[in-house]
Amino acid sequence: MFGIFLITWREALEAALIVGILLTYLKKIGEAKNFRYIYYGVILAILASLLFAYFSNAVSLLFQGSREEIFHAAILFLAVGVLTYMVVWMHHNARELKGELQQKADEALAKNKVWALASLAFIGVFREGVETVLFLWGLLLDNGDLVSYYANIAGGFAGIGLAVFMAWLFFKGFGHIDLRIFFRITGVLLLFIAAGMLSTGVGKLIAADILPPIIDHVWNTSWLIDEHKIVGSVLSGILGYKARPSLMEMLSYFLYFPAVIIWLKSQRHDLAQ
């Protein structure tokens, strides 16, 4: 039961952070009335995850061989792309908003921008939702003894509940600080989440025998922080921690940061011109 709790908590925390950033941003620019578009994205993503789970028995028959790993890698890379876009967009906005916050708030937020925010919420939640729902679905199929059955389901939902509550506390605490600082903190957080997703996706492609691991295990820190226990699970969810990374996963993780920074800098340069 605790294992289930840990899994749903970790997945939901990532999704809740992404949604929280979007909501806080809208609130800060005085667009709280557009909250509902974010919620549309979230609800649609939950429905899409449930639909996916409902058809997953049929879907898994299509996933022969390594197709499942390739599918997961594709979703992960899509999420990395979306998160990176979000960070670049936040960075750009934080610079623009310097001193002209009120003026900007007076203008109505363009409709297409609102839909862009809604789709960010959708992808953020869908990616975690598929993983969580598939896992819970596997448990629902179980007809073992009823006590552990209900305990598992209760654990799963408790995990999601705690994650949403923690994200709410986080934004309650950090939501009042200056938008630029807020964007900086959450931007860094998102970069770590994205780098973790990138290396997880690369790991899936290694499992599918598409990418070579180069070196199987560069180090082993499972004696210090085990990613299957509580602390390691949090670190793995937010920072992308892995106790025994392959060289390929490490490279993708550590090369992601300079790549984004160079992109941000080149954009700043273009704007200055």
Partner: protein, 121 residues
């Protein structure tokens, strides 16, 4: 073209070259290896066989068949693999270049059922 953009582009080119290089080196190594297919059946919450012996350096195609009525998740911390096996369905796990040693696996949905292991020698 701005200098920073050039930097970003050259960075991307290096990354691409690197990935192309890795893709090119991967298949030749695979071809040189022997390949073996092993079937594991989950029945009444137990793995059959529970212990598998293979030679080091061989590429393994592990097929896990779930003949029980409940879903299982084949998981191995040692092998860094986890995959759900639906009732009546099967999954494939590819393993290559395993070093000699013992690799434990278990059903994450039923962690109390007996664990199995792959012994590479």
């Amino acid at each position: 073209m701005p200098k920073k953009l050039r930097m970003a582009l050259s960075y991307l080119i290096v990354l691409t070259l690197f990935s192309v290089f890795s893709l090119y080196t991967a298949p030749s190594e695979v071809l040189a290896q022997e390949e073996v297919e092993i079937k594991i059946i989950i029945k009444d919450g137990k793995f059959d066989p529970q212990e598998i012996k293979v030679k080091a350096g061989i590429k393994i195609k592990l097929i896990v068949i779930n003949s029980d009525k409940s879903a299982a998740e084949f998981e191995s911390v040692d092998l860094d693999r986890e995959k759900v096996v639906r009732p009546g369905q099967s999954i494939t796990i590819l393993l290559s270049k395993l070093d000699p040693g013992s690799y434990e696996f278990f059903d994450h949905f039923h962690p109390k059922t007996p664990h199995g292991k792959i012994i590479v020698e």
